[in-house]
Point group: C2
Chain length 218, copies 2
């Protein structure tokens, strides 16, 4: 059975998975790059941008998991772009096609949850963005069908992950707690009282200062 997995999802010490004020220039709002500095320091990330070097310790081995064994991704609309409401740029030269350039790192179908459906976008390298107005369960059914025997990556943001947790649809979750206090933004853990009864939770502190939390469904 294919699993639903979350990887490399970073939160601040006060629990925010993204900051406030998302724009085209600031996909994580006032958080800037601070939630992801641990990631940019890894050998895994360096190799992604065709650079040598980078750390190869616990941060790196966790980071790698995001590329292993996935046949589809589900993401919230906020991960695809900062727009809300109807898509106003469809068919224009400025049509938004995500943050990732012509060849996004997914290389699979990606299901973007939105109340405003639109035609799919086929990118280079195998990534196809589908836009679906669906419940978590319905979206997962689509993603599972697309993924075949492979797993489904739940890509975030915090609201989307929280909805899938509430619906008990997440098998494995890797959270990276970064020792910063954002003070505002969107919290990951809101409204999930008792979630720990459904998961084995492991904690590993990295010498880099972050803490890796893994939740494995019992």
């Amino acid at each position: 059975m294919s699993l639903v997995r979350v990887h490399n999802f970073a939160i601040s010490l006060d629990g925010f998975g993204t900051g406030e004020g998302l724009t085209f220039d600031a996909p994580f709002g006032h958080a800037g790059h601070r939630l992801h500095e641990w990631y940019f320091a890894t050998r895994f990330w360096h190799s992604k941008i065709d650079e040598s070097g980078g750390s190869s310790g616990v941060d790196d081995v966790f980071a790698q998991q995001i590329d292993l064994g996935f046949g589809a991704e589900i993401m919230g609309r906020g991960k695809f772009g900062p727009q809300t409401g109807p898509w106003l740029d469809l068919g224009t030269e400025e049509e938004w096609r995500g943050w990732w350039g012509p060849n996004p790192p997914f290389h699979t179908p990606v299901f973007v949850l939105t109340h405003h459906e639109r035609p799919s976008i086929e990118m280079e390298g195998g990534t196809v963005f589908h836009f679906v107005d669906a419940t978590p369960g319905e979206a997962l059914e689509l993603a599972r069908a697309a993924a075949g025997d492979l797993d489904v990556r739940l890509g975030g943001g915090p609201t989307t992950i929280r909805e899938f947790l509430a619906a008990d649809l997440v098998d494995v979750m890797h959270i990276v707690q970064v020792p910063i206090l954002l003070g505002r933004g969107v919290r990951l853990w809101d409204g999930l009282e008792g979630l720990d009864s459904r998961y084995d939770i492991e904690s590993v502190a990295s010498p880099s200062g972050v803490t890796h939390l893994t939740l494995t469904r019992r």
Copy 2:
């Protein structure tokens, strides 16, 4: 210079330092004992209740710090008891004298922050409860005078610690993050954006499942 230190202050994964619904029977509300099971498993706690056994690893060495080098404590009223508003039991047989019995574990002056002052209470073993309507800075001045060369323990709860952090009066803080989700209660980290710029933050995962966070003021 004597330091202001917080030790063994436990929070849930979602950041709550106490649950909802504090009563005489449930000092941490619906959290029950779940925030402190790591503590009850230590050799330090076992020795406090005159039992042998208990763990002697990282949880235990952190736990011990709470007894080392203090000449006074400051606590919020919610740590002293669940009552709010005027003290209605003064002079009665049922007068509340804290959760800790006739010989509380403080053995120093303890300054209880409250808007409702009342006469001090002298207990066995050197603990004297003073009730003061004071700002964090004013309370600290009283506690420092009482502590002499020794440190001042900031005993909680979450609201009191947050106020002292906001006023930049905390030198050392040891937080224990417990892998449970309480969902509701009082959060420790609210409204402290950027706190990390004032502290070196260290994280140590314990085999028991909790994570010890230490914040040391730069």
